[in-house]
Symmetry: C4
Amino acid sequence: MDVRISKGRFEAFSDGVFAIAITLLVLELHPPDLREPSSGALAAALLAQWPDYVVYAASFTTIGIMWFNHYALFHNAAAISYRALLGNLALLLLVCFLPFPTLLIGRFGLVAPAVELYSLTFVGLAVCFNILWYAVRPKAFGIGGVRGFIRTRTVWNTIGAAAYVVAAAAAFWLPVLSIVLIAAVAVYYMLPMSVRGALAASNE
Amino acid sequence: MDVRISKGRFEAFSDGVFAIAITLLVLELHPPDLREPSSGALAAALLAQWPDYVVYAASFTTIGIMWFNHYALFHNAAAISYRALLGNLALLLLVCFLPFPTLLIGRFGLVAPAVELYSLTFVGLAVCFNILWYAVRPKAFGIGGVRGFIRTRTVWNTIGAAAYVVAAAAAFWLPVLSIVLIAAVAVYYMLPMSVRGALAASNE
Amino acid sequence: MDVRISKGRFEAFSDGVFAIAITLLVLELHPPDLREPSSGALAAALLAQWPDYVVYAASFTTIGIMWFNHYALFHNAAAISYRALLGNLALLLLVCFLPFPTLLIGRFGLVAPAVELYSLTFVGLAVCFNILWYAVRPKAFGIGGVRGFIRTRTVWNTIGAAAYVVAAAAAFWLPVLSIVLIAAVAVYYMLPMSVRGALAASNE
Amino acid sequence: MDVRISKGRFEAFSDGVFAIAITLLVLELHPPDLREPSSGALAAALLAQWPDYVVYAASFTTIGIMWFNHYALFHNAAAISYRALLGNLALLLLVCFLPFPTLLIGRFGLVAPAVELYSLTFVGLAVCFNILWYAVRPKAFGIGGVRGFIRTRTVWNTIGAAAYVVAAAAAFWLPVLSIVLIAAVAVYYMLPMSVRGALAASNE
């Protein structure tokens, strides 16, 4: 009753989008607008735009982590349903959109509207990941049946989504809190990989 | 009498082009040109450019749907003929061209020439899809022989092409009608997926 | 005595480069710089930049044909030698460079230096294709042994390279001749596909 | 106790990033800013920006060599550990960053801060390659057990990293030395391929 899409082209297309989104980030780094390329002035100008490097590294790491989560999500799926295809398209739309609010923060600093747009993008990403997680989950059940893995991931996804909603709510009062929360979730998603690894290994 | 191209690189190349075309769309989003990054001014400027976000989402969804149709088109094809290769190249040329009229509408609004170019691009896309459909169809016959599926798709393709021709004809008198027609075809291509799904599932 | 590179990643990397080079071409199309988006002015401005569309279509088709030739070249190769890898890198370097002289011609018209750079790029591409052809040819012998196919391709490659050299020599006296020659070679590479197809089909 | 990532999507994602980073380089080539497209002025302007072509070719070759090293590194790995995944992400971050210092040198010449940033990027790349080498090495042991190959590569990696550190240290006193060192390492990595080839072939 539902289209089953073979994973080959689905993953190739998604990999392509992630790879391009992550590579386009460097286009946001502009050389300093200097007329006389004196060594001291260039060094000062390059050091002065350090926030751009931080934003570049942060966005790069974020998209990289999302790629890995995307990989883990579909690793056990035997085929892709049409609902998962639409959810994936929405996810990729937000992944590709992420450079825009990132650019705004790099340009204007931690101003409320930029942080709000940034936080809302992460809320949308979490919603898409949760939709995809529920659309793909039954297959993971069918293959490995590791309930613990699924329960853990459901908790993870809920905590991440909740943190992003709080970040979006806080953006207009305390933009710094929003950024700290989003960064904390990123670290949280990276740190417990030994746990995640043990679960994933037993699942294969 | 004809070259048979293995699907591997043909699909990898096409996937790459779709993935890049869909990702480049974000480059059309520019940060507001503000000197003083006051919170209120930035919020107002970001809200004022809402048509850009609509255009971004619409183009993203359109290319995503075309990718899926491309996937469905070649899913059952055992090999690619040289005619299909040329038709595919023409299709990709228009897919990659789509961001340009999209950008024009985002920049100038629903002005006749921009909408005309936009509509004509869709007419060209429909022509290419129909050429590809006729070039690839016999293989679908050979594998599943589901006449109903083929008849349905032929009807779909004809309706879509006809709607685009009407949109192109209307662009100089009633640009809004053209956009509504093109959007309606997009929704039409997304909605009957349960029907399409049932047919495709019985075809595998 | 020589590295043998498996074709998988070699072709994936090359496909990626071709796909990106062909997709980046649309970034050269700029919307007209109009303050008042009146319908007539926009139509006139869009029509006035018709050479850009021709250049876009020509470059797109050229890279598309080169992708197909690249596909045909390595289709029968069992593995990639290190020499072929270096030749391929030089080829991709020129494929990625092509948009630059194309952009020059689109910007300045058929001026001698732009056409010269354009022609020299094609001379370089032909040299790389010939080096690759000689590096890969023995494997084709080993698999199919179709001498006729190889003799035909050798003739083709020589004719193409000679035409490009003439185009490069003529660019400073008669730029139009250079462009006509390069276009003629492109048509020449597309037309005899029925012959090439018959040979390639018997080769599989 | 550790996630094992199948190589398919890991390599597809990495190939995509390398392919895009190498293709984006052409966007740094800008047409001369001329009002009157006279043939002589255009030729002079195109010749005057010869350093841009050198930088383009150098960056293209460097990323191409790194892609090949990346290929060789993971060719024998049966699966990717999570540590290797993070090291790979850091490597890709620097690969994608490389166009920025390259652009600075193309714009400002061999000024100390630009050369310093360029050299430090190569130090970072060497560190990442060494981390990856140690993370992936055990698997190579397991498959082929060619100790000589591993010892040679360890020596290579150490020499390369040391040369980059010297280049970074020299950048503020003698920028030319830094560039010569980095170029020498690139040539060094390309030249002994017959040795590397013999070892790699016996390893398969």
